[in-house]
Symmetry: C2
Subunit: 137 residues, 2 copies
């Protein structure tokens, strides 16, 4: 299945209340994507998609991203086996963010550090300064 081009951005009302996907890519051609684990609802990671990554995610049902560090398309799991199967995709009011709920393949560790989620540290303020506390070893 080939996805037609995304609709051009309409009026504020069309973007917020309409039924057309009119994603807003930033100056670098990217849109932010929050990826959650479908079963737990936990936020696994925040990544970015360019138009091609968003299109491929829709067409294949497998999460694709744009790696800003490597400067390339990134089908997550191609090297690690941790492919993400999309259970649900959402967009937000002004359509400048994507929310994915996924089933994580492989060992389910979404983070390149070997952890399930990239958000493995709590930020705790304190009188001696802010510090981080690990929630996943």
């Amino acid at each position: 299945m080939s996805t037609p081009p995304f609709a051009p951005r309409g009026t504020k009302h069309e973007i917020e209340e309409g039924g057309a996907l009119e994603p807003k890519f930033d100056a670098d051609g990217l849109i932010v994507c929050v990826t959650t684990e479908h079963m737990s609802g936990d936020v696994l990671m925040v990544a970015y998609m360019n138009e091609q990554a968003l299109r491929l995610t829709l067409e294949t049902g497998i999460a694709h991203y744009w790696s800003r560090s490597r400067g390339g398309l990134w089908r997550k799991g191609d090297t690690s086996g941790q492919t993400q199967t999309v259970v649900e995709m959402r967009t937000d009011c002004d359509q400048d963010a994507i929310l994915l709920a996924v089933e994580a393949g492989g060992d389910g560790k979404a983070c390149h550090t070997g952890r399930r989620s990239c958000f493995y540290r709590k930020v705790l303020p304190g009188k001696d300064g802010t510090h981080l506390v690990f929630t996943e070893v």
Copy 2:
């Protein structure tokens, strides 16, 4: 309580495995923030913080953002009453994203459209093209 300045960015290992908050602000001085509803775990919104907003969020326990559209600091709820009390803050592996779990005040509607979450539309691919389906009226 006044928060000391954030630590300068260290090595990759220090950033990923260390106990110091070393947030990475982008070229516009912003860091992306995903805000979830503490009780349900649902993602409510994606917003941005500058250094001042992150500092004030840590100091007060109330979510502060930087409004890109208005170009100003934004203590959410100041006009709407939907103040967000931070239950937990996390950061991710490379410390270029913040995750907040909040208790939403007022009527609990985080979205400016009057909905609980900004992610009130599913994105559905189809042979007639991608379209959006409302999950919250």
